[in-house]
Amino acid sequence: MKHINQNRMELSKLQEHIASGRKITMASDAPVNFKNARALEQQLRDKEFYQQQINKAKTTSQTAQQSLDEIVDRLIELKGIVLRGGNSAQGAQAYKALTQEVETIQEQLINSLNSKDGSGYIFSGTSSDTVPFSMDELGVGGVSFNGTNQVNKTQIEEGIFVEPSVSGQAIREVGGIDMFEAIEQTITALSMGDSSSLSAQLDDYDSLINHLIDQSATVAFEINKMDFVFERQESLKNTIQAELSSLVDTDFAETFSQIQQTELAFQSAMTVHSSIMNQSLLDYL
């Protein structure tokens, strides 16, 4: 009778494994495997968390890169204007038109530098709530920077951090040349029709363009780093998931075979039990 009950319990357990798809649901099923499975689930959640961090940081980096590319384009346009202004054949009317064009580009540059993503302003350093650039007569080149020089870091793996963006201050300045100061000088030179001053500014714009390309490359390098780590984590996740599955998931083929074996033992035990119970001396009285 005990064996019949044992077989019945075993069958019900196997049925549960098939229905739930898991052979370990509680620590009492297999304490060591349960603990290992939970530790693997912890690692899995860690990887998923870091992947979410990467996705968030990457969105910031991609927005930053797009903005930096726009800035480079605007600087190239500015360089073209400076080149045209340096040509002494320009008339006063043309200089005025060029001045307006430069002012428009200056606005566009400020707009690009004030880009936002879900976490806030991307070039305001750690002060992501603050609008980083604003027109300000007291600011260098008439534009002040309101953010911080330090940038937010994001941890994307144990001990690995990325800086998804660059500081606005670092963008506007290179080797003592300030972007907005250069633009202000260009506007002044254009309004005065000073072609020689304009020609002298070409090198500054070249330096600014190269600097912005460098900044964009820095961001691109961070994106590559994120992509690499993301892929590595994806691969690790697959390994962990496979290990986890081997620990807790039901092996259907094996379980079905166990069900058949247990069913056979169950039926045999019942047959033997009923056959013994049927034998009685009462039949011979």
């Binding site: 509680m26 620590a27 009492s28 860690d46 870091k153 994001t154 941890q155």
Partner: protein, 453 residues
């Protein structure tokens, strides 16, 4: 001639008694605690002029087939089995409260709570990130309180079970005392109180489920019982048990009601319940409190070093605990204004996420018994299940032993239907044989009477 009739009458009488005994055995085959009887018959003789002359048969006694050593072993195994079963059932209930497959257990909540600071570190000014910290902290607190309340409920349930068990043990002691008296009174009348002795076996087995008793059976069937070296029942003494509870620690002790002397109960249901209440559940509760307290201290230490977005006032993240996980809560200031969550290490540099990063980094600190927070949470929530697994192995082993011992006991004391039916056939034939002798004697009488007539 007269002796022939007497001989056959004695044969019929004994065969009838034999049939009665067999019928009694058969009808009690499934009665718990029943011990089979066997009729002892002896020949009757008398010394006459021709020496020893047979006068038939008579029933001398009923043999009461008991195997005391096996019964005592069964009692011991029963105590161990009951102890293991109570513990296993309790830890299984705790395991169900600690572990779910929905992903909201203490380990996952601890990890998500610390991760929310990692998220805040990368966007320290983000309102959603700050809200997430509060939400995850609340979920972590809920998980802690669920575990804590599961332990507390189990302790309350255990204490109720202890009281219930003491009442049951006292009733059983009273019953056994009554049985001792019935047996004594039957002895005084020169009888055997077989039914009382059957009930005694059953009651002793029931009592041994509750506590580790030592029994001594006298030759006449009376029983003496001692628990933890103290005699609680003898033919002229009964000592009831009494429960005492320390109002502060809720530690339970068992004492003798008359003398107030403490007795040690280490096995059986009661032993298990006492151990659960006084040790196991206290250890679980202390471990949880220790884990939460250490984590709170670490989080508060880091948090109070940093600055929120609005001012430079140092603040704890969690309110001060009074040592119990049940009192865990987030600082009211932080719930009212999420900008007070400290994420930055330098005052005035809004957005620096160093402090949030440091708090997230606690996940790797060995904060409790050499374990990192999530590792400890996994270890903690797995502990009841690990115990259930080990206890169930013990239960399987004891069950096998009990099965073997019960089979041994049944071989001696139990009713074997085949044997009883075979006895019935024998007694039936003996009855028919004796009746035939009587019939022959009657015919002989009639023959003689017809000659005389």
């Amino acid at each position: 001639m007269n002796s022939l009739i007497e001989i056959s009458r004695s044969g019929i009488k004994v065969a009838q008694e034999g049939l009665n005994t067999t019928a009694h055995n058969i009808t009690n085959a499934n009665t718990p605690g029943y011990t089979r009887r066997r009729l002892i018959t002896v020949p009757q003789h008398q010394i006459g002029g021709k020496g020893l002359q047979g006068l038939g048969v008579k029933s001398a006694d009923f043999e009461y087939l008991r195997e005391l050593r096996t019964e005592s072993l069964i009692q011991t195994k029963q105590q161990e089995l009951s102890y293991l079963e109570v513990k296993s059932q309790t830890f299984a209930r705790l395991e169900t409260s600690f572990v779910s497959d929905t992903g909201g257990d203490l380990d996952a909540r601890t990890q998500s709570f610390l991760q929310s600071f990692g998220n805040l570190a990368s966007s320290p000014q983000s309102r959603p990130a700050r809200n997430q910290v509060i939400q995850e902290a609340e979920l972590f607190i809920d998980a802690v309180k669920n575990v804590h309340s599961a332990i507390e409920q189990e302790r309350e349930l255990t204490q109720n079970h202890v009281q219930e068990s003491i009442r049951k043990v006292n009733r059983l002691l009273e019953d056994l005392d009554g049985l001792n008296k019935t047996i004594t009174s039957a002895l005084n009348r020169g009888e055997q109180a077989l039914a009382a002795m059957d009930t005694q076996v059953m009651k002793l087995q029931e009592l041994s489920e509750y506590l580790d008793i030592k029994t001594v059976q006298s030759d006449n069937g009376q029983v003496r019982i001692s628990v933890g070296g103290m005699e609680v029942l003898s033919p002229d003494l009964i000592q009831q048990l009494q429960l005492t509870k320390d109002s502060e620690s809720e530690h339970l002790d068992i004492r003798l009601a008359n003398s107030g002397q403490g007795i040690s109960v280490e096995s059986g249901k009661l032993g298990a319940l006492l151990e659960l209440n006084n040790d196991d559940l206290v250890t679980l509760s202390t471990d949880l409190d220790g884990f939460v307290s250490n984590l709170v201290q670490r989080v508060n230490f880091e948090h109070s070093q940093g600055y929120g977005l609005e001012d430079t006032q140092p603040r704890n993240f969690f309110s001060d605990m009074d040592g119990s996980a049940s009192t865990l809560s987030i600082e009211e200031d932080l719930i009212n204004n999420i900008d007070h969550i400290a994420a930055e290490s330098i005052s005035g540099v809004q957005g620096n996420g160093d402090i949030a990063e440091a708090i997230a980094g606690i996940k790797d600190s060995k904060i409790m018994s050499g374990y990192a927070p999530v590792e400890f949470a996994i270890h903690f929530i797995s502990s009841p299940g690990s115990k259930v697994s080990a206890l169930n192995e013990g239960i399987d082993l004891r069950n096998s032993e009990m099965e073997l011992l019960t089979a041994q006991q049944q071989q001696v004391s139990g009713v074997n239907m085949d044997e009883e039916l075979s006895n019935m056939i024998q007694y039936q034939q003996a009855y028919q044989g004796a009746a035939k002798v009587l019939e022959s004697a009657q015919i002989m009488y009639q023959t003689l009477m017809s000659i005389v007539a």
